[in-house]
Point group: C2
Chain length 349, copies 2
């Protein structure tokens, strides 16, 4: 089932006028969304008014957290998606028309106006980035910075730590495990949703151990993988993996809560960590974090990330989905665990 396609381009359009697709939420689903909750519309792209630029988006990010913005429950760290409006998300594109001196045609820019082929807005919403920093512009959409601040700030990673990462084959998890190792973790363990993904973690990403979380009691798998216990848990999922991690954690262990995929993929509450007797007994810290509180880490991380990529000491793996019309279904597939590494949508033709 596809998102509905709608042409709202005015019929009097001239040959010179650009048109582009955009994706709107058209219903707030109860539970998980379906592709029919989205509409893909072709719209005219206006010329920039003074102070504005027009950006042709090349790639946009797909992120499991978008499900929370669709569900729109209270307590979100960011504005929810409104019904009838174009959704937002990280994107990278190229300036194709500028009515502001700060940006010129051909500039590569990052911004939050994803889910559309063209973004027209004031120049201040776009951040120019270096075209030569990475082999492909989509690399800018990677979640390495999220993983980095989660490890450094929320989990207070220390050299010698044993680190467990759930959803470790995903965009954030694959970065978290590799960055933990590069920042001095003694041992890095990952969980994923299949044996093939677990093998990918140890064989391609350099994890010391990995398991399929479907394979028997998670706490047992963790104890096998971390006989001396876990010091840091980078939590992307919650639920039973979180409870198992608490069980196997060492005193003064730290849990960085980055996502709640268990909850997000069910669109209903999960059981969470259970009672906090283990948290009390072992004096654990559980800390939720979002990137927006730690953006000052971006330059320091960017420099390290580029150097790791150059040395070949980190693998930045991407799944590329073609076309905005395929993005809603891809978001659902992403949350169900269909992809490894970072998932991006290539926009335009």
């Amino acid at each position: 089932m596809n998102a509905s396609l709608k042409n709202t381009t005015p019929s009097h359009r001239s040959g010179a006028l650009r048109t582009g697709l955009e994706a709107r939420l058209i219903a707030r689903p109860k539970g998980l969304p379906a592709p029919g909750d989205f509409e893909i519309a072709e719209v005219a792209v206006p010329d920039p008014t003074p102070g504005q630029v027009v950006v042709r988006n090349m790639f946009m990010s797909l992120d499991p957290g978008m499900l929370m913005l669709i569900a729109g429950e209270p307590g979100l760290p960011m504005p929810r998606y409104e019904v009838g409006e174009v959704m937002y998300g990280d994107a990278i594109g190229e300036v194709v028309a500028s009515a502001d001196p700060s940006l010129g045609e051909g500039d590569l820019v990052m911004h939050r106006l994803g889910w559309r082929e063209y973004a027209v807005a004031r120049a201040g919403l776009f951040r120019r980035v270096d075209r030569d920093a990475y082999p492909t512009p989509s690399t800018y959409l990677g979640f390495g910075l999220v993983a980095y601040v989660g490890l450094m700030d929320a989990a207070e990673l220390r050299p010698g730590d044993t680190v467990f990462v759930s959803s470790a084959a995903g965009a954030t998890g694959s970065m978290a495990g590799q960055i933990a190792r590069l920042k001095g973790a003694a041992r890095v363990i990952g969980s994923a949703g299949s044996r093939a993904k677990a093998a990918y973690l140890t064989e391609k990403l350099g994890f010391d151990a990995a398991f399929d979380y479907h394979d028997g009691p998670i706490a047992d798998r963790l104890r096998e993988a971390a006989p001396e216990g876990i010091d840091v848990y980078f939590d992307n999922v919650g639920g039973d993996q979180l409870r198992a991690a608490i069980e196997v954690m060492n005193p003064h262990g730290r849990i960085a809560v980055c996502g709640a995929l268990n909850r997000q993929s069910k669109a209903g509450p999960d059981e969470g960590p259970g009672d906090l007797l283990g948290v009390l007994g072992k004096r654990l810290t559980i800390r939720g974090f979002t990137l927006s509180d730690h953006l000052e880490r971006a330059p320091e991380f960017g420099a390290q990330f580029r150097s790791w990529l150059r040395e070949g000491s980190i693998v930045h793996d991407e799944t590329v989905i073609d076309g905005l019309a395929n993005a809603p279904q891809a978001l659902l597939d992403l949350v169900k665990g269909a992809y490894t590494g970072k998932t991006v949508v290539r926009l335009g033709s």
Copy 2:
């Protein structure tokens, strides 16, 4: 029902030989203990061997956490009570015989050898304290230091914070609320198990607002008491109060997990905080702590506490239970919420 009384004093005892009561765990209960799980025995008190002292205990502490040591599940921060052995716990007493130069008869000492009228052990296990620091020696058994390190270290209290304390009429909670105010909290809210205790919090202990947690949805009571949200939650109970606190917390709020009374009084798991979407969305920190990791705070706290007592700016309220034989029942009553303030047992006659 009383704990069983047993006289194991040797029949050949001389008039000069001291005897004293001690309390032993004689069965590990499934679920909550009953007084029959304890035995009170009269035993001979030996003379000190070289390096030892004999201490006549004056007061011992009763602490809900003792239920965890009785249940003896894995993951405790302290050794569990072993069946057949005398239990341990904080106590204060007077040296009555010494075979070590470091302590002399008449010295007032604190130690961990509670649940007995006489403690005979090497001098290094006893810490001499100032007899004139407080009006009564039992004050040394107060839980102010626990509350202080929970606020300062686990919750990172900041001036202007709104602080919520559960089980606020109890030993730790009553200190936590008052210390929070004295250390700069803008607003202090407490919950307790009856309206009378809630009134005690606002009328006697200077809390800004208080409620009986039985009175309707806890989150609603919290929102009324803290219209601008909560910054710090000092958690003594877990369960539904913890979930309500997360719901009403402000971004970057901090939760110090000091106890799990909900769990302890049921002797079975409670639901805990539920899924961590709120922790993630609001970037909350949940941190378990125990006093043993923060003993370096003792001198600084002691100086402040004595000064607050002198000024009359803090109320140190005690419930005194008479006699070791009544201690097991009193521990159960304590966990059920029968007492306010700190509960101590007066030992000996």
